[in-house]
Symmetry: C2
Subunit: 185 residues, 2 copies
DNA sequence: GATCCGTCTGACCGATCGGTCAGGTGCTGA
DNA sequence: TCAGCACCTGACCGATCGGTCAGACGGATC
């Protein structure tokens, strides 16, 4: 089977990735040293840096799937305006947040710093477009404030309720999002 | 005048406090070194540590007023249950968040780490009681999820809309909080 | 003038960080 | 048998961190 071949190559690579995800989720990105990750894997720090160019590349590979879905959502929202965009954005964002709540949890509180880095610069633009969509493309402060409460609150709730099953978390988040955004106008 | 006497003593102390607040707001607590603060003040790092026992003490003095108000709110909420507690908590929390949005901004994304420290341990308990009050003391996941979205979203919105006048920010936040929490049951 | 004290500083400390590098090890294919 | 290669490692690097310490400076007190 090609399964054997495909699995033979990564192994340690995947172990490191998994260990990094575990540590990042507990102590955050900045708060986790390459030593910590190496200790969790049971290898040397040099081995971690053999498999990944640097610490940021490790984070990048860990976040790649989530970022891909986020970009897809951004493009899908671009095709709508006003209330339609608001609905698409809310549903898509809740889906994304629930699905990738592990990845969200490990970036808890480090978004502000990481978004400054050029590697994640475009994510800031996406989140601004998400915010505009949540606000129904309104410039009214009240609409933008409600949008930001939802935009910031949902990921946090996802990270906190990590063990709740998707089927329970998703509709509850969608409901609170619609409630918070709907009568804004 | 006693103004001269009163001002003669602190001066540099206050300068350091103000500079630290400015730097923390931009680069966060962990991301700001004592060197950074000293450079902003125009003094040496040793001077910063002459006026404050250590970096944590600096943060403590910066946050003391906000923490005091938070504790007062906690005690006020304890006197109510159910919907009444929900209303008191929402109004009190919005007031607090708007009033201390500077302090909130400089802790952006560092709450998870800081709450682990023993010096801020009781704040975690307070936020749990706030969460329960927001949820109307219900154990239903949907209620707790909505409560967490509000609890996490409001501070973030406050930090982001730092330049919006209180009279505009406060009612908008209160409205979205009530909307998000009210029909939860 | 001597003494004291609040303020401030440069030099220094040990620890830890992300990252580099030369070299060891064991498998593989010629 | 041996060269080549993927994988892994200990030792090391420069930078930076929070924090310490002995002493310099200047104004008040006696």
């Amino acid at each position: 089977m090609l399964d054997d071949m495909a699995r033979a190559v990564p192994e340690t690579h995947q172990d490191i990735l998994a260990a990094a995800a575990r540590r990042f989720a507990v102590t955050g990105y900045k708060g986790t040293s390459l030593q910590d990750i190496a200790r969790e894997v049971g290898c040397s720090k040099a081995t971690v840096l053999y498999h990944f160019a640097n610490k940021e590349a490790l984070l990048g590979e860990l976040m790649a799937p989530a970022i891909g879905v986020l970009q897809a959502l951004d493009e899908r929202i671009a095709g709508h305006t006003g209330p339609a965009a608001q609905r698409v954005a809310a549903e898509g964002f809740v889906d994304l947040a629930v699905r990738f709540r592990r990845e969200i949890a490990l970036l808890r509180g480090e978004f502000p710093d990481l978004l400054q880095q050029p590697a994640f610069a475009h994510i800031q633009q996406i989140s601004e477009r998400l915010l505009a969509a949540f606000a129904g493309h309104s410039d009214r402060p009240a609409a933008r404030i409600a949008a930001l409460v939802v935009l910031a609150g949902i990921p946090e709730a996802c990270a906190e309720f990590a063990d709740l099953p998707d089927e329970e978390l998703r509709p509850a988040l969608l409901a609170v999002a619609h409630r918070a955004l709907d009568p804004t106008n």
